[in-house]
């Protein structure tokens, strides 16, 4: 590096640049948070949805599944599982049956544990996954398989 470019100049670029771009990041964050209600349907977050999210966390579902593409990549994406598995008519009975059938004990198949949820809890989880299926995620995922 050229001698005329000094350590002091490099330091100033570091401090100045970081602060400048961090302030832009904060401004964009402020704007994003303000815009979020248009996309997250927060008016539909019922007590059941809130409890469903809590159950989702309490059983570490993210340890195998992804939710909007984030999580582990061991088991299917679940933000749109509501649409994939029956929707309005069929999802709730499907989920109840599915949760109660675990573990499937098919030799060699990836194994989902039995979480011992009550019918009410499975219903809340279903409400949470219904809510996630309606989020505006800029058109992601590309298809129903997630």
């Amino acid at each position: 590096m050229s001698e005329s470019f000094t350590k002091g100049m490099a330091r100033n670029i570091y401090y100045g640049g970081s602060v400048f771009f961090f302030l832009i990041f904060l401004a964009l964050t402020f704007h994003t948070v303000k815009e979020m209600p248009k996309r997250d349907n927060r008016e539909n977050i019922t007590e059941a949805v809130a409890n469903g999210k809590h159950l989702w966390e309490k059983n570490n579902c993210i340890g195998c599944h992804t939710l909007i593409g984030e999580g582990a990549y061991f088991a299917p994406e679940l933000m749109n599982v509501y649409n994939r598995r029956g929707g309005e008519a069929g999802f709730k009975p499907f989920l109840n049956g599915w949760m109660n059938a675990q573990p499937l004990n098919i030799p060699g198949r990836r194994q989902m544990p039995q979480f011992n949820l009550t019918d009410q809890e499975i219903d809340d989880l279903a409400e949470f996954l219904k809510w996630t299926s309606e989020l505006d995620t800029n058109n992601w995922p590309p298809n129903i398989e997630g």
Partner: protein, 462 residues
Amino acid sequence: MNTLKYQSQAVAKPYFIFAMILFVGQILFGLLMGMQYVVGDFLGGLIPFNVARMVHTNLLIVWLLFGFMGAAYYMIPEESETELYSPKLAIALFWIFAAAGVLTILGYLLVPYSTLADITFNELWPTMGREFLEQPTITKIGIVVVALGFLFNIGMTILKGRKTAINMVMMTGLIGLAVFFLFSFYNPTNLALDKYFWWFVVHLWVEGVWELIMGAILAYILIKVTGVDREVIEKWLYVIIAMALISGILGTGHHFYWLMVPEYWQWVGSIFSALEPLPFFAMVLYAFNMVNRRRREHPNKAATLWALGTAVMAFLGAGVWGFLHTLSFVNYYTHGTQITAAHGHMAFYGAYAMIVMTIISYAMPKLRGIGEANCNKAQVVEMWGFWLMTVAMVFITLFLTGAGILQVWLQRIPESGEALSFMATQDKLEIFYWLREIAGVFFLLGLISYLTSFFITEKKTA
């Protein structure tokens, strides 16, 4: 023989040793998960995949934190030209952090996660069950307490001593690490907000302040092993971390593409994250440049190898493999596939695991009273460890990339109705997962070789 410049640097030793122990655990659980990828029910009743993954990732984070703290305790007194403010506090915090870490991991392994949530009163302040932030709230509080004590200790050391660019950058990085961790306590009911601010911990750590820590450690090592003028090395350090933050802060946007946010993040994230490889490329140029211009032949060849290796592997893993899927129109198809896993593995190994092993390689012979360097035989075995682990990680990354490309092709690109389901796709990826697991075994062999090198001492000739 006493080879330390400042006696209080010795507190780094338990931190490094414990980091290595946790590293072994991380790799064993990684191999277990690799098996579960191909033999789905392998030990599934005993250790379900989600538990193994939590242990694998949390051990990684914690051993890197131990490594960073050890690095700080080793470097800061020497940089500040004064003894550590309180070695007693450093040792006390070591035991607190180690106990909290071990208890948390045992909690993951011994009781169902929901039980762990109950017995740690997660209801009072729910923060658990989010990727990488699975620790009980009480553990998170413990991490904050340890971090505050640690920052106080090294902060006071710097205040009473010399302030170099290296210890200022290290300090800024560590303060940033502690500050951004506070977002782990924010877990709103609204998933849109939850996910957005979750990245304030995850991204601003690994693509932000951790790069400052890495840069500072690398600069310190380069000064020591090459004897190149501090002014030159510190100038490079500032340029590199300036590039890292200028690209990386707004680069956070590449995680927001598919969250409930305005479309402009697609542009902001794509443009700035496309620049994120630059600081890593500069790091490669700088490391090789400094070693070529060396003014001394440092006897610790292994440490120099690690320093060059971490620059190259961070560039490939974080830089190149990050760029592969960072543009929003590519990420639309690759988001949450094995491509992400491929990138994650090489980036974490290259940038962070290797920088910690760099400082350990340099500092351990001194901490153990051996001298400037281990004997030649020990260094050769250590370098075997370097090459085995590094080449194995390259193969792990290539196999996961192969799996990821096929997964995108089968599951993501076709229209609904024609695309293969997730589970059906996974069956098609089996060969890649087997090869990855074999590469993982070689990684373990490399780790064993690396650890063996610590026990090789020169035979005394009478």
